[in-house]
């Protein structure tokens, strides 16, 4: 019953963390010659996490490569960075809500 603190919400938070670390790496290496942007295919990896797998990062395709082989787009990274942080905030709020509900349910029993 207590895994009603949704296991899938926790997996979502896990994946967001993984993704944020990749964004941080991409941004730190925005000027490293030859560096290729890495990311996770969110939906695929989320489903895989729910089945107990480990997330995998892959190289992102379709990005413009500049003269020294680097393909990091700071615009892309900045956008995703913000999006990730907001999602993490939203989902962690949802989890807190669930915890609160369970706590109330248990405490009600005290007086029942």
């Amino acid at each position: 019953m207590l895994h009603a603190i949704d296991g899938s919400l926790e997996a979502y938070l896990d994946l967001l963390s993984v993704r944020q670390k990749l964004m941080a790496t991409n941004i730190a290496n925005a000027d490293t010659p030859g560096y290729k942007t890495r990311d996770v295919d969110f939906q695929t990896e989320f489903r895989s996490l729910l089945e107990g797998g480990q997330p995998h990062a892959t190289e992102v395709t379709g990005l413009k490569v500049n003269n020294d082989g680097n393909n990091v787009s700071l615009d892309r990274e900045a956008r995703l960075l913000a999006e990730n942080a907001l999602r993490f905030s939203a989902v962690s709020q949802l989890v807190r809500g669930q915890i609160r509900i369970l706590k109330s349910a248990i405490d009600e029993g005290k007086n029942g």
Binding site: S17, K21, I27, D31, P33, N84, S89
Partner: protein, 145 residues
Amino acid sequence: MSLFSALSISASGMSAQRTRAELVTENLANAETTRTPEGGPYRRKDAVFQTESVGSPFASVMNSAMDEGAGGVSVAEILVDKREPEQRYMPGHPDAGVNGYVAYPRVNPAEEMVDLMSASNGYQANVASMSALKEMILRSIDLLR
């Protein structure tokens, strides 16, 4: 690798971009330096970035396949310009050679400024990255309340 160690990734990015900006400043300041202690004109410097694996303060073994290649950045080396210096014909100049040419640094202020802006943007982006990571860590702490 936890979110905490990811903070050091952003920090390394900030550090590398700062080094780069400092080199640009040095290049610009010495754009007209014809005489250096090592002899000859100033030679411009450039930072070469390299991806690094990051250890964290609480480091343990990195055992996730995810962590391969993920990591911060460091300045692998500082490249000193090996090109022939620019020669300008200035016969009266104290550093002129027998033929009247003075060797000047190959520093192009416009290029240096572009580099500087790039370093500045990069620095800002790493700051934003660190903020976002910190935000997520704080939200995680909220889960404990």
